[in-house]
């Protein structure tokens, strides 16, 4: 069983399109995250949800909108895609922020988004 899964694994789309990436965790965690890994390989946190509530919201364009239908799912919707959105997006989960604090954060395999 995959603990944190993401779909799709690869996403190629054109500028201006709207796309979504889905994330699901079966670990029973209450906190989920989205990270972006840019072309220089830096992995940066974008959002975090705890029990479906937004608790971390880094400086991210409004075109990015996370949605958490329940605490096992955190989806990322991106409007009006731009070339600079090309990156690998990682979902992660933990039990509270304390889980991340202690390194008990579980990551998905990533979604490689390519905007042409």
């Amino acid at each position: 069983d995959t603990a944190v899964s993401q779909t799709p694994k690869y996403l190629v789309t054109q500028m201006g399109n709207d796309k979504s990436i889905k994330c699901e965790q079966n670990l029973g965690h209450d906190t989920m995250y989205w990270y972006k890994q840019d072309s220089k390989k830096f992995l940066k946190i974008m959002f975090s949800y705890n029990n479906k509530e937004l608790i971390i919201n880094e400086t991210v364009p409004n075109r990015f909108s996370p949605k958490s239908p329940d605490k096992a799912h955190l989806n990322l919707h991106i409007n009006s895609l731009e070339l600079g959105d090309s990156a690998v997006y990682f979902c992660a989960s933990s039990q509270g922020l304390a889980g991340a604090f202690f390194g008990e954060q579980y990551f998905g395999p990533g979604t490689r988004l390519t905007v042409t």
Partner: protein, 117 residues
């Protein structure tokens, strides 16, 4: 602001050789430090972590890391590398409890490890 630098983008070693991956951090207080590994097609997996106490920490898969405050470093080591260790390795620093960075990890750029037979 906290930051992490991994000076080596790509390292190649022979199987059985020793390994050291470098990590330097910038943080205003005693840092909480982590090493993660990412195998192809997999998510990041925690190798080891340092919070306090003994500056030499042991992790999974035979890895260890040493925290050196004077050098702001947290280098990852393994005495004898196995072919299955080929992966990408990320160093990270975590935010302290009570601060605005709590629960956030700041990662380095990663070091790709290639192992020759």
């Amino acid at each position: 602001a906290q930051s992490v630098t991994q000076p080596d983008i790509h390292i190649t070693v022979s199987e059985g050789a020793s390994l050291e991956l470098r990590c330097n951090y910038s943080y205003g207080a005693t840092p909480y430090l982590f090493w993660y590994v990412q195998s192809p097609g997999q998510g990041l997996q925690l190798l080891l972590k340092y919070f306090s106490g003994d500056t030499l920490v042991q992790g999974i898969k035979g890895f260890e890391a040493e925290f050196k405050r004077s050098q702001s470093s947290f280098n990852l080591r393994k005495p004898s590398v196995h072919w299955s260790d080929a992966a990408e390795y990320f160093c990270a620093v975590g935010g302290r409890a009570g601060g605005t960075s709590y629960g956030k990890l700041t990662f380095g750029q990663g070091t790709i490890l290639t192992v020759h037979p």
